[in-house]
């Protein structure tokens, strides 16, 4: 990081390589569009580089970067006036984790996933965002606070309310 802050672009390239996966996933979860996510990710890394002078050396880079990614992605979404429609369908080549389950158990797990996916699609964008960051990106509450630019206590309450509304939708 110190080298990157001195303008060493190779060093910053290593940082990009290290964090590009989570950045791209976050961008995709917000924008719901592959092309937008790609642009947002790249723009966010450039912006982060330009703002490195303000980055505290003792702070974790990932949530700081994700905050830039999130802002960039939300701005993009607003600019294109499109509601995000993240495809939550399962990756075709992903090995099923249900093999250890009985056929009935696997079917039930599949139904539960479908039910949750359907409910997520009906949630408000901000509720879906906070759930996505917590459970899809597996961010801690502290990381979410940094990434979303809100207090930790607010993360907890927003997540709790989002899950509550998810349940309401699921229960029809």
């Amino acid at each position: 990081m110190a080298r990157a802050k001195q303008g060493d672009t190779a060093a910053y390239g290593e940082i990009v390589s290290l964090h590009q996966s989570v950045a791209a996933r976050a961008a995709y979860l917000v924008t719901g569009n592959a092309a937008d996510a790609e642009e947002v990710t790249q723009d966010a890394f450039v912006k982060a580089y330009n703002a490195l002078g303000r980055f505290r050396d003792d702070a974790p880079f990932r949530p700081w970067l994700l905050r830039i990614v999130t802002n960039e992605a939300l701005n993009r979404l607003k600019a294109v006036k499109r509601r995000p429609t993240v495809e939550l369908t399962e990756a075709a080549d992903r090995p099923s984790g249900d093999t250890a389950l009985s056929p009935e158990g696997a079917a039930l797990a599949g139904e539960q996933r479908d039910m949750v996916r359907d409910a997520l699609a009906k949630l408000r964008d901000d509720d879906r965002l906070v759930i996505s960051y917590r459970y899809f990106l597996d961010l801690s509450e502290a990381e979410m606070a940094d990434a979303l630019g809100i207090a930790r206590g607010t993360v907890k309450s927003r997540l709790s309310r989002a899950l509550e509304r998810l349940r309401e939708v699921m229960n029809g």
Partner: protein, 259 residues
């Protein structure tokens, strides 16, 4: 049929399972592309003042006054929408000299800024911006213009055009004194908004240029710069303007909280 009454733990497990199965789109290796974009802009040597230097900023005004095809009028401000063919094509001039004239004027303290102006100088009070990095005074035909400059931060992206995070400008504005014009191209969205009950305009999208003209359309100042998203409004004979790569709602929140 799945049981809808999942426990908290079960719901969280299903959510993680759903997340683990998302078919994320394949992404290119961003490292090379990002490096290509930042190679010419080493962090340690970058200066936002240089980015704002007038050599770059004077190039867009050529021939625009007569090209205005559509405009809306705000007290003291006119915003023109021009046809794409009217946009200037002249290439940017070379990089500024080592001692560029600050286009925002000379540094000044807040107390002095308030002392020298006849309008009410108000300051953003929003955590998104934080404390201004510098305040400038620039004397124009309608009196002093005060600018608050904010450097980029994690939450305040640098403008690709100016390299700064945000610029808040205040000046006495009246249609009788001067027209504070702003050119926008087809890639810029214009939206009427209200700030504390006062009429304003939100501009968002492609970079657009500010310039100052006299009542007859002649250019009377060279305070031109490329702007990012912009909120501009007039209150009590003063024109306020916030330029930053932020959303409309963020800009409105900043504007509403200015004291």
């Amino acid at each position: 049929m799945a049981d809808r009454s999942l426990s908290d733990g079960e719901l969280e497990a299903v959510l993680r399972d759903v997340g683990g199965r998302i078919a994320y789109p394949a992404m290119p290796d961003h490292a090379t592309r990002v490096r290509a974009r930042i190679t010419a802009r080493p962090v340690a040597k970058r200066s936002w003042l240089y980015a704002l230097a007038p050599a770059l900023l004077t190039l867009l005004v050529i021939g625009l006054g007569a090209a205005a095809a559509e405009y809306i009028s705000l007290h003291g401000v006119e915003i023109f929408r021009v046809a794409p063919s009217a946009l200037p094509t002249r290439a940017p001039t070379p990089a500024p000299s080592a001692s560029p004239t600050p286009p925002l004027g000379t540094p000044i303290g807040l107390a002095d800024a308030r002392a020298i102006t006849t309008f009410r100088v108000i300051v953003p009070n929003d955590p998104l911006l934080g404390t201004p990095s510098a305040i400038f005074r620039r004397d124009g035909t309608s009196g002093p213009q005060i600018s608050f400059v904010y450097v980029p931060s994690a939450t305040l992206p640098a403008s690709a055009e100016t390299g700064i995070g945000a610029l808040v400008t205040e000046l006495k504005g009246s249609i009788e004194f001067q027209i504070f014009g702003k050119l926008i191209g087809p890639g810029t969205k214009l939206e009427n908004v209200t700030v504390n009950g006062q009429k304003g305009v939100w501009l968002e999208g492609a970079p657009h240029a500010f310039f100052v003209t006299g009542p007859n359309g002649q250019f009377i100042e060279e305070t031109l710069r490329l702007a990012t998203n912009t909120l501009i409004w007039e209150d009590g004979g003063t024109v306020y303007r916030i330029e930053a790569k932020i959303t409309r709602d963020q800009a409105l929140a900043i504007a509403t909280g200015m004291r």
